[in-house]
């Protein structure tokens, strides 16, 4: 008996699922590398003090970063990695008014290395304010923006290095990896519909019938739609039928093909609805509802994949 059990466990440990290898390489590592490269280019553009190029590089950076954020699983494999995204992306987390704080810092002549002492002062959101709040930037603001971009690049590169270094751990622990991916998708889809679309559009529980575009993520840079699109795209990388194996491979194996189709359909519809709309989400309730369906679809497929009904152990009498 014991021998059988040991063998079963050994096989489980030694076995690394092909779809996980593919997810690690084609999605996690690739997206993180892309975001790392893009944020490095942003630093370069800022070094040259080229505002137009910097804004363009900023856009590319956030599109790349949102994909990494939407599928962020590093925290499930190392506690030290849990807080990394929040350190440089404070959307919906920073309660403090960093715009006022940054304006004060830019007006003062304190050395920037000391003035920008808080993490939030060097966040993507701080950088967005610095680059897009005004038409032109002072030398000091350029200098500050570069410090911010460097901090962002450091964090994103850390994530990239983590994924590379932990590839084996990830692919070798299938239940844990599945759980981490699914929870990333559940969490990301909730925040996508409720915060990123719902809060600004006036559909969320918190701001029902109280639309205000300025609550949108990347309102200043007018990149709200691009950010939402990037997040949906990242979900698609895991769930659509791709040339590489992805999470949908596992979902189908687990017997939740119908539920997968609900998710895919809702993702496709969300992308379509996004194209029709302006930067404002206020008149796009359908998008909110479609994203809600994505979120719901993940729970639905999870419950189906668990096959709880097959776990009938002596459901009979006594």
């Amino acid at each position: 008996m014991r021998v059988v059990l040991v063998v079963v466990f050994m096989v489980q440990i030694a076995f690394s699922a092909e779809y996980l290898v593919s997810i690690s390489k084609n999605i996690l590592i690739k997206n993180a590398r892309d975001a790392s490269v893009k944020s490095e280019k942003l630093v370069e553009a800022l070094s040259k003090k080229d505002l137009k190029a910097s804004r363009e590089r900023f856009k590319e950076s956030i599109v790349a970063w949102k994909k990494v954020q939407a599928t962020y699983v590093a925290g499930d494999f190392d506690e030290m990695m849990i807080d990394i995204p929040r350190l440089f992306d404070i959307y919906h987390h920073g309660n403090e008014d960093i715009h006022a704080q940054l304006s004060r810092i830019f007006a003062s002549d304190e050395a920037l290395e000391f003035a920008l002492f808080k993490n939030s002062h060097k966040s993507i959101n701080a950088l967005e304010f610095t680059l897009f709040a005004k038409e032109t930037l002072t030398q000091r603001e350029f200098q500050a923006a570069k410090i911010m971009a460097e901090a962002i690049n450091t964090y994103i590169s850390e994530i990239y290095e983590f994924y590379k270094a932990n590839h084996q751990t990830f692919v070798g622990n299938e239940p844990k990896a599945n759980s981490a991916i699914l929870n990333a998708l559940i969490d990301s889809s909730y925040k996508l519909k409720e915060w990123r679309v719902g809060d600004g559009g006036g559909f969320s529980k918190k701001y029902r019938k109280d639309a205000d575009d300025s609550r949108n993520e990347y309102y200043l840079s007018k990149l709200s739609k691009e950010a939402v699109e990037a997040i949906i795209t990242a979900h698609g990388q895991l769930m659509f039928d791709k040339e590489y194996q992805n999470f949908s491979t596992m979902v189908i194996q687990a017997g939740a093909e119908q539920e997968l189709e609900i998710i895919r359909e809702a993702l496709r519809r969300s992308l379509m609805l996004l194209d029709l709309d302006s930067e404002s989400f206020a008149s796009n309730r359908a998008l909110y509802e479609s994203l809600e369906r994505v979120h719901y679809g993940y729970y639905l497929s999870l419950i189906t994949a668990l096959q709880i009904t097959s776990k009938i152990v002596d459901a009979d009498g006594d």
Binding site: N183, E194, K205, L302, I303, V313, G317, D318
Partner: protein, 298 residues
Amino acid sequence: MELLPFASFLNPDKRLFWVYMLSSLFIAGVYLLLYKKEARLNLSKKLWLHKSAQLDYLYFFVNYSLKVAIVLPVLFGAKEVALLTNRALFSFFDYNLITGVNYQLIVLLYTLTLFVVSDFTRYWLHRFLHTVPLLWEFHKVHHSAKVLNPLTFYRVHPVENLLFGLRYSVSIGVVTGVFIYFFGGAISVVEILGASAFVFIFSLFGSNLRHSHIKLVYPKQLEKFFISPRQHQIHHSRSHYNKNYGGYLAIWDSLFGSLCFSKDVGKIHFGLGEEEKRFSSVYQLLITPFINLSRRFV
């Protein structure tokens, strides 16, 4: 659920799984070596070919087919209950996914909760089967066994099967719905050869002896927490129907005042006494409850 009753022997989710049978046989063997006097009865033709036992063997196959037809559809409800629970929590408390938690801990917690909740609902349903007159008519089928053997476990009226199936769906559905709400995908049951670890361990320690004449008792302190095979045999005694309703755990019997220790009971008689006669064929096992009910309530 497999369509063939023989599949029970190969399925670790079933009490008749060959590993559990073998371990029960081993425990019984050791017991009989220690108590040689009891070997004669336990190995006798009189016991294994008793009319009541023969009926158990036959009924096992009949009940199996009926279960597939009646109970299986109900069990699919577990998924809906899980989803409903999850949605209800969302509408009351919005979103509360706890991320970055210790994965192994959640899995252990889920498995443990599932086991305890399921055992709890099993206790209460079993108790209701005895205390609600309408239900007792159906549960009599199980208690009409004059002698006990592992297949007596399946001597249960389809209506009772249905109730146990429903109970199971609701228990597992609610627990799963709650866990998914808080922990998302971090819940897949810890399994040993496909069965929940707890059930596996308990089944290994002789669940099959609950319905047998092997008087395996646990020390009194242990019988406060776990139902010993003897304690369930006592439940089958005509004078102790209202004791030891528990499945695996004895804590519910302790808590709700229905616990009875093995050492407090002497000789016992199984069956229903006079009424047994009306449960002596497959047809009767299926139909007598309805006849009794029509006499009682119409």
